[in-house]
């Protein structure tokens, strides 16, 4: 053998050895240290975005993975003094509902928009559980752009999941209610209470939502939902519990039936029925609130009617799949074939097969009906059971490599099992009592199966104690290998229910740096300091201040001629056009929050001075080296004073 041959051989062997080595590094438990895997060096950025629901905070929090660093809290359903969301005059309409202004809600299940069953990273949707609503948040601005109220519903829990081309975002009803609402005895629950399931269409270009139709389902509790994909695209699956239709002490009375249902809804069929006019138009009242990025203003419109389909009258629209013990999560695998029901009181998981279901429908393998809706035969639709997987199964996600990961609340663990063989492969404890879990893209055809985040309900001793109330804990596991590996434990904000994640490369490049001033169409915006002014509406007590900010002053910063009892609207435009240079503003004694104004944006707060004097306002965001100098004064005179309105900056 020639020396050159040796060298070649050596090179080849070494390459093989190194590649084997690289593989073992990727191999979960055999990989590098946990600390190395989650360490994102200063100046480096995370690999994934994770959007965690804030639960009762009403907001959505943004985390980086694998570091577990919190990057932002996006206000959605709750007023947020940090930015002035819900306090500024522009964003108050976003909180409008048929019940009036609602300052809070319980945000549960974020879902990222998809095209062809894959994440497209354009928007993220989230549901309000208490006063049923769905919000759409832009992933360019990370701002809530739209909120639509869901009528005829209560406890909007089985929401806001999307179909695989974002045709629809759905809403369900966890607390069935009389439809239409009326004054009847609670004992008359059975038959009178309904659980509306709503399909809200999403405009392909603008993302604008519209309540397309509702399917008026029997009065069960519709708990969670997931879309079909691939072959099962066109179907939507919802878990039900309380098929007993109990209306009191549900912890006992809703746990009596051996099996509840997964409702399989054929929404393509629903579209046909709508096209054929087989719907009734019901009078209803619900708010549709839209925030315009150019006027920087939200507007609320009251809608008056909704199209309703009756599944008991329309064959082929809905089928029930019997599923043991009050199923909570219903999750569809990336291929769209398997529908996993997590009977939360059961020790096993039930997996239905979509092709079995279609065959059972074809052959009419029915096991009776509920209110005229066919119940499919359990044996005919089930593909398998994951036996003795754990106690208290809740949610399942998929890694795209044929494995599923299910959380078990009571036994406090994440269990990895294989689709098809239904064998348990691995289990890892969580700290403690895990609710949801999330694999980026786990609810799509193409999951990014590198990490799973377990979101726990109980924290106890995981962190330094902070009094009786602790933030919930989350754990990050590496799932790239055969066995899961615990990497990181981090606190989360509010109560994360579901979460959605996506690779940073899908979202980061499109993130907006600031708003173009020239595109600002706010009616009270100013384009430069020359346009700033103070105007009194006729002889009324309404005064509009057209104010601007730029490093490091307000224009104008001295205002006189304001009187006690005036309603002074400060419309403030941030003239900056530079990434991450917001200015804030706050007025002494103003009964509202500060405003944080992004470059190119205009925001408005209302001040109703009650006392004579000279009152300062200032910039609340440390904007620049001369931030402390960024302030101004307003002189407030008695109501009967005849001081003319005047304003100035540097005496000019």
């Amino acid at each position: 053998m020639k020396l050159t041959n040796y060298i070649t051989l050596f090179a080849v062997l070494f390459a093989m050895a190194s590649s084997a080595c690289m593989q073992s590094n990727n191999n979960g438990a055999l990989g590098g240290s946990a600390a190395e895997k989650v360490y994102v060096a200063p100046g480096e950025q995370d690999e994934f975005y994770a959007f965690l629901s804030g639960g009762y905070s009403g907001n959505l929090t943004v985390y980086g993975l694998p570091s577990g660093r919190m990057l932002k809290e996006i206000p959605v359903f709750s007023q947020f003094p940090t930015s002035g969301y819900g306090y500024s005059e522009e964003t108050k309409p976003m909180f409008n509902t048929s019940y009036g202004f609602i300052p809070w809600d319980d945000l549960h299940h974020p879902d990222i928009s998809q095209t062809n069953g894959e994440l497209d990273g354009r928007w993220i949707f989230a549901n309000a559980n208490n006063t049923p609503r769905i919000a759409r948040i832009s992933l360019e601005t990370f701002e809530t752009e739209e909120i639509i109220e869901i009528p005829n519903s209560a406890g909007n829990h089985s929401s806001s999941f999307i179909t695989e081309n974002t045709e629809y975002v759905v809403a369900g009803t966890r607390f069935s209610v009389p439809v239409p609402q009326r004054d009847i005895s609670i004992d008359e629950y059975k038959g009178n209470f309904k659980g509306a399931v709503s399909f809200v269409s999403v405009d392909e270009e603008s993302g604008r939502m519209d309540l397309s139709f509702q399917i008026m389902m029997p009065g069960f509790n519709y708990d969670l939902g997931h879309p079909g994909r691939g072959d099962s695209h066109g179907w939507f699956f919802f878990t039900t519990y309380n098929t007993e239709e109990a209306n009191t002490l549900l912890e006992v009375n809703a746990s009596q039936n051996d099996k509840d249902f997964i409702a399989a809804i054929n929404w393509k069929k629903a579209e046909e029925y709508i096209a054929q006019g087989k719907f009734t138009t019901m009078e209803s009242e619900y708010a549709h609130n839209v925030y315009d990025e150019h006027t920087h203003t939200g507007t609320s419109t009251m809608k008056k009617e909704v199209r309703v389909l009756d599944p008991t009258e329309l064959p082929g629209l809905v089928y029930f799949l019997p599923t043991p013990k009050s199923p909570h999560g219903v999750d569809v695998d990336p291929s769209g074939e398997y529908i996993v029901g997590a009977g939360k009181l059961s020790a096993s998981l039930t997996v239905h097969s979509f092709s079995n279901m279609m065959e059972a429908i074809e052959n009419e393998n029915f096991d009776g009906d509920a209110y005229g809706i066919p119940i499919l035969n359990f044996e005919n639709v089930t593909a398998g059971q994951v036996e003795s997987a754990g106690l208290g199964p809740l949610h399942t996600e998929f890694d795209g490599r044929g494995n599923a990961y299910t959380t078990f609340f009571i036994s406090s663990e994440v269990v990895k099992w294989e689709l098809g063989s239904w064998e348990v492969i691995d289990r890892k404890p969580t700290y403690y009592s895990v609710g949801h879990l999330m694999i980026p893209g786990g609810n799509s055809r193409e999951p990014f199966g590198k990490y799973v985040v377990a979101m726990n309900k109980i924290t106890k001793d995981r962190y330094l104690p902070t009094g009786p109330e602790m933030e919930h804990s989350a754990q990050l596991y590496d799932i790239s290998g055969e066995k899961m590996e615990l990497l990181l434990d981090f606190p989360t904000h509010g109560e994360p229910h579901y979460a959605a994640g996506a690779p940073a490369s899908l979202i980061a490049p499109r993130s907006k740096k600031f708003y173009q001033l020239e595109d600002n169409e706010h009616p009270y915006a100013v384009m430069n300091e020359g346009e700033t002014k103070v105007v009194r509406e006729g002889n009324s007590n309404v005064v509009h201040v057209y104010m601007s900010t730029i490093r490091s002053h307000f224009a104008p910063d001295n205002i006189e001629g304001i009187k006690v009892g005036d309603k002074v609207y400060f419309h403030i435009t941030n003239l900056e056009q530079d990434f991450d240079v917001p200015h804030g503003v706050a007025m002494i004694g103003a009964n509202t929050s500060e405003l944080l104004i992004m470059p190119g944006q205009t925001k408005t707060f209302l001040w109703e001075p009650e006392k004579v004097g000279v009152w300062p306002f200032y910039c609340t965001d440390f904007c620049s080296a001369l931030h402390q100098e960024m302030q101004g004064y307003v002189r407030v005179s008695p109501r009967n004073s005849n001081i003319e309105l005047s304003w100035s900056l540097d005496g000019e």
Partner: protein, 182 residues
């Protein structure tokens, strides 16, 4: 030949360096809570099912069995849980050798199965059990089985085991029973 040896050595070194790196990496996280939530030290809160059982002399066999099955964390879970807790005498009444056999590591799964048959999701004190019996409802247990509740006069039986006492704990109810439910 010399060259071949040299190359082989190098190759082995390369592989060894690589594999040794892999080995050290697997479990470098300290596990401060080997029993999950059962490891949490908290002496101020009301005691939970596990803590009450540990404190009861009459349930030392049950506690030993729970520990052998490694399911302590289930009994400290938020619940609510109802546990039917056989007294030591109930275990003694089993055929000789049964308990010893179940405590063997290889029977851990079987033991866990038997114990979870003694736990039900939900809160059922004696009054609650009587109500279930009067409505003819069965109790759904954590292992997936159903147990029959019956009454005789003022006494309540679960699958033939008599409920001697009912103790309220922070995360559920312990119903002391005189038999092991198999």
């Amino acid at each position: 030949m010399k060259t071949t040896t040299f190359l082989t050595t190098l190759l082995l070194l390369a592989t060894a360096a690589c594999s040794s790196k892999s080995e050290q990496s697997s479990s470098n996280l300290p596990n401060n809570t080997p029993l999950g939530q059962a490891s949490v030290v908290d002496e101020d809160s009301d005691p939970n099912i596990l803590q009450v059982a540990i404190g009861s002399e009459d349930h030392s066999t049950l506690v030993a069995a729970v520990q052998a099955a490694g399911i302590e964390h289930v009994l400290v879970n938020a619940g609510p849980l109802t546990v039917f807790a056989p007294v030591n005498a109930a275990f003694d009444a089993l055929p000789a050798g049964t308990v010893e056999d179940l405590l063997k590591p290889e029977n851990k799964g079987k033991l866990a199965g038997i114990l979870t048959k003694h736990a039900a999701p939900g809160s059922y004190n004696i009054d609650g059990l009587k109500k279930e019996a009067s409505k003819g409802r069965k109790l759904y247990m954590a292992d997936g089985s159903y147990l029959t509740v019956t009454t005789e006069g003022d006494e309540v039986f679960v699958e033939g085991a008599k409920v001697i006492a009912s103790i309220q704990t922070s995360n559920g109810i312990i119903n002391v029973v005189d038999k092991v439910i198999l």
